[in-house]
Symmetry: C2
């Protein structure tokens, strides 16, 4: 059987992860990486062609799916609707408030071109969204809780780095153990943000910076930190690099619910990931397989994980799936 | 919007659970229970019509989906292909070795009648199957482990009851904690059955029965107990009823895997259920909703959980799903 041909658009941590993930899928192959940088300056983690993103149209007919590895804020809203004119796409769009308008734009562009775009793919949104819809559908009387961490939040780390006097920083989101225990005990608690997550920051200050002011600015930062118990630890750049250089993440989706006959059910999905971008990439690659197959069946427009039957994700033939996995 | 009309075929623990579960779904309603017993002798947990299973054809056009609540050994293989001639169906067929032939028969009968049948729905097969296919697809380099319990196994309890001198019995399947810990530690162990599960039996013996012989017969029973460490506790009927009267169950699907860049991922789904049949029923009802919707879109034949996009399971409109659950 012919391999599914994949292009990687953008080559940061996620793009690298996608290339690694493709190397684990025998039915797929990485055809090219597309970059806005000088292609000659890009060193890939495994051998693959690198081309300028302007040349992407030269690959029409040569690539089945483009995995878009840009950011949600500015890259994806533009890139996705442009790319779907010529290719199927998969992306990890995660700006929650803009999901409806993003979906509509992608759906319209895809229906026009006859291509399919899977959006908001990864683990949250993605696998965690799946847990929320499956759990809530099979056990409708209850509460769903999402906890993140322990893991590095890129957005929060960036927010700290923007503070004057900060050279570098890493922020860990940490679920509150006692809150998890309450949910697992089927107590159906109602939480404030502070009761669910703690924020732990490792900060490298510039020489002579006012540490007390930096700590105060972090702890009072609206949206990011003000609503949480926040720990600030000042460390050297060497210590930050050595002890906090990774990008681990993970979390929990729990549903605590009751049957109409008053029996308790507790459903839990948990992920523990040594590398957030490399795991997200694996999800993107599985959905790239699904998108290629579904588009061959004539499906176009925009889809999320909710619209994709699990059978399309697995490389096993459908009858083998039933024999081995059911 | 018109409610999805459901019939319940068979009224044991599962049938009762389905009726309870339907009472939690505002978009669905239980129209009738069908029984092989004298309908007048059946007392339902909530008010609903009870009719003889021979009269089921009187409900053509009045019921959208029949949820088949019989056993996998003898009831379902006959019932499913008969019922799908006139109705969409959902069942919890779980005889793993016979899945391929069951699927084919149901698929053929459904394609002929234009109806849709969802088979092997519940939590295992069902939600656990979904974990196995999703986890394996997004993280292909690793091992998947399924642990069951702590919970009552009906099949094992029945097997004990067939031993001479046994009046009653309950068997708990218990996962071995140290085995779970090894998997969670990403050690990728290879297990014998004995290393994964322990079997704990509570047995009521007849007066004057030879307890040593009963214990020996249980512990050496092939397939059921011989390959496991088995504990046998003799108790009074009163104690069995009081302490072991429930039908709790649950379990774990774990996947321990690696990225091509050598980072570890641990994925885990766990269920803790105070009532196995009532939870299974909730899954059947969600898939009944899916089957009704998919059949309206023109889909017929046989499907498993692998073939059904999650969007069909939730009563929320698709755009609301994206807003609230993605």
């Amino acid at each position: 059987m012919e391999k599914i041909k994949v292009g990687i658009v953008g080559y940061g941590n996620l793009g690298k992860g996608v290339q690694y993930a493709l190397s684990q899928s025998e039915d797929m192959e990485a055809v090219a990486v597309f970059t806005r940088r000088d292609p000659k300056s890009v060193r890939t983690v495994l051998p693959v062609a690198v081309d300028a993103v302007e040349n992407i149209q030269n690959y029409v007919g040569k690539i089945d799916v483009m995995i878009l590895c840009g950011g949600s804020a500015t890259d994806l809203p533009v890139q996705s609707v442009e790319t779907i004119r010529d290719f199927n796409t998969v992306d990890s769009f995660d700006t929650h408030a803009k999901v409806p308008q993003y979906f509509e734009a992608l759906d319209e562009a895809g229906k026009r071109s006859g291509k399919l775009g899977a959006m908001s793919i990864g683990w949250d949104p993605g696998l965690f969204s799946l847990a929320r819809i499956y759990f809530g559908s099979v056990a409708p009387d209850g509460n769903t809780y999402t906890f993140w961490g322990k893991g590095v939040s890129q957005g929060h780390s960036d927010a700290i780095r923007r503070i004057e006097g900060v050279k570098d920083a890493k922020q860990y989101t940490v679920p509150v153990e006692s809150a998890l225990a309450k949910v697992r005990g089927c107590e159906n608690p109602v939480f404030t943000p502070r009761q669910m997550h703690t924020r732990v920051c490792y900060v490298v200050a510039e020489d002579g910076a006012d540490l007390a002011r930096i700590e105060q600015e972090i702890k009072t930062m609206p949206n990011y930190f003000a609503d949480y118990d926040t720990e600030v630890h000042f460390v050297s750049q060497a210590e930050l690099n050595e002890k906090h250089g990774g990008m681990p993440h993970g979390g929990f989706v729990l549903r605590s619910c009751k049957s109409a006959n008053d029996n308790d059910f507790l459903l839990e999905l948990s992920l523990k990931l040594e590398s957030n971008p490399e795991f997200t990439s694996g999800v993107l690659v599985a959905y790239a397989r699904a998108v290629a197959r579904m588009n061959r069946e004539g499906i176009s427009g925009a889809v999320t994980a909710f619209d994709i039957a699990p059978k399309y994700l697995s490389p096993l033939p459908f009858d083998e799936q039933r024999k081995k996995l059911l």
